[in-house]
């Protein structure tokens, strides 16, 4: 009974506060990440010269360095050169840049899958490259990239738990504090786990809805 009271009165209120911070971290990171991924993916496929090179370098760097290390650099490293991020900002910047690198690969794959004839037809009508990208290529590529990008968003929800490493106390951070006070590690982290599971399930449903809404004849999946 004492256990239940502890959970009701201390664990849940604290975790809900943490959950809210997690959500505030995840939403902008997912949006900026996707936006960055689209730009970088497009640059890697259609860009020329330094722009394409820069995009490749970005992916290599942010996909190649562990996210915790990146977060440490944003939060603990940048002050040495006079740039100060709040824990929250450092986390959002870190997540967005990391997520963008992964998104860009899904987008790149989707862009490469667009048939050449689509581009020939657009060019023959007098589309500029940017118009073609915006009106013809991206609407098709994003539909094809959606399952992969959705996967990245799900993954982001879980690696948002790294924010507590730079003292942004979100869901996992709250759990850590609670558990180290009460030593009820199993109870607290089981509940934390359930919170993430619910978040991920909801996100999965939302993404599925989006996929269904954007589905078009000729773009749907055909079961063999």
């Amino acid at each position: 009974m004492e256990e239940l009271a502890y959970i009701q009165q201390e664990v849940l209120p604290s975790l809900f506060q943490g959950l809210w911070v997690s959500i505030l971290l995840i939403i902008p990171s997912a949006l900026f990440g996707l936006l960055l991924g689209v730009v970088v993916g497009a640059l890697r496929v259609f860009g020329r010269g330094p722009a394409a090179l820069l995009a490749s370098a970005y992916v290599t760097l942010f996909r190649g360095i562990p996210l915790v290390v990146q977060l440490f650099i944003w939060y603990f490293g940048l002050p040495y050169v006079g740039i100060y991020f709040s824990p929250f900002m450092a986390s959002v910047v870190g997540f967005s840049l990391c997520s963008g690198a992964y998104h860009s690969e899904y987008i790149r794959g989707a862009l490469l899958s667009i048939k050449k004839g689509q581009m020939l037809a657009a060019q023959a009508l007098g589309f500029s490259r940017l118009q073609m990208l915006r009106s013809i290529i991206l609407p098709q590529a994003l539909r094809r990239a959606l399952p992969g990008c959705g996967n990245e968003v799900i993954y982001l929800i879980k690696y948002s738990s790294l924010a507590y490493m730079v003292t942004c106390i979100e869901l996992t951070g709250r759990g850590k504090i609670l558990a180290s006070h009460s030593f009820k590690y199993i109870e607290v982290f089981l509940i934390v786990g359930v919170f993430y599971l619910v978040l991920v399930t909801l996100a999965g449903l939302l993404l599925q809805q989006l996929e269904n809404r954007l589905s078009l004849p000729g773009f749907e999946f055909h079961k063999a």
């Binding site: 689509q118 037809a121 060019q123 009508l125 007098g126 490259r129 013809i136 078009l216 004849p217």
Partner: protein, 255 residues
């Protein structure tokens, strides 16, 4: 249609293109006057498609010039190139409709995005072009829901909506079932009757000879022979032209 223009609508001169070691086009020239139909025939791999794609710079020629109504096109200037391409309608062998847009939007998108037409106006125009090719009732259908013949007719409507001065047709019926060829031929015949200027590559000799003002036999990147359809088909000077036409005529029982 009265011929008000002085000189050809479209003229190409000395077009050369090589891919690696293989020279695909070996210095080709031709021109087409307003309302004229020029038909290019010849074996596959002879450079017909490449030539048509060089004309609107989908393939950039290594050498040679293109003039539209007396203006030489500088394809390195993107704005000029895009403005030129708007005036040259292109029909592809495999249609190349935009897969994510329904028939109406396929026709409409060039008007809205490229010609900056107002959406209402563009919709009206697009619908009238779809009606012209007999597909008004399919306006809401996506490419995946259309037959090959319908797709090619939408692609013709898409090109027509841009008010092209000349149309390039690259084997417009080669990817179609025999049953569906007729409906596309009917649309093309209608265009010619309305005075459209065009250059068409095709294997449908019978159909083409009825429309062509001049037939051009092309092989290995050069024009072997050119002349009136009857002359090329029945009385060719060059032995190779004769041989090709003799082989293709029995299977060209098309309408």
């Amino acid at each position: 249609m009265p011929d008000t223009e002085q000189g050809p609508v479209l003229k190409i001169e000395n077009i050369r293109k090589r891919f690696g070691a293989k020279e695909i086009l070996k210095g080709l020239s031709l021109s087409v006057n307003k309302g004229e139909v020029k038909v290019i025939i010849g074996p596959s791999g002879g450079g017909k498609s490449t030539l048509l794609q060089c004309i609107n710079f989908l393939v950039v020629p290594d050498e040679g010039d293109v003039w539209l109504e007396g203006n030489r096109i500088n394809h390195a200037k993107k704005r000029e190139l895009n403005a030129y391409r708007q005036q040259v309608g292109m029909i592809f062998q495999d249609f190349n409709l935009f897969d994510h847009l329904n028939a109406l939007d396929n026709v409409l998108i060039g008007l809205v995005r490229v010609k900056k037409m107002k959406k209402d106006e563009a919709r009206e125009r697009a619908l009238s072009e779809l009606t012209r090719v007999g597909l008004a009732e399919h306006a809401a259908h996506y490419p995946a829901q259309l037959s090959g013949g319908q797709k090619q007719r939408v692609s013709i409507a898409r090109a027509l909506a841009m008010d092209p001065k000349v149309m390039l047709l690259d084997e417009p019926t080669s990817a179609l079932d025999p049953e569906l060829i007729g409906e596309v031929h009917a649309v093309i015949r209608d265009l010619v009757a309305n005075g459209m200027t065009m250059i068409m590559a095709t294997h449908q000799i019978g159909f083409a000879s009825a429309l062509a003002d001049e037939m051009i036999f092309m092989e290995d990147g050069v024009i072997i022979e050119r002349g009136a359809p009857d002359k090329i088909l029945l009385d060719a000077e060059c032995a190779r032209t004769k041989e090709f036409c003799a082989k293709i005529s029995p299977i060209a029982g098309d309408g």
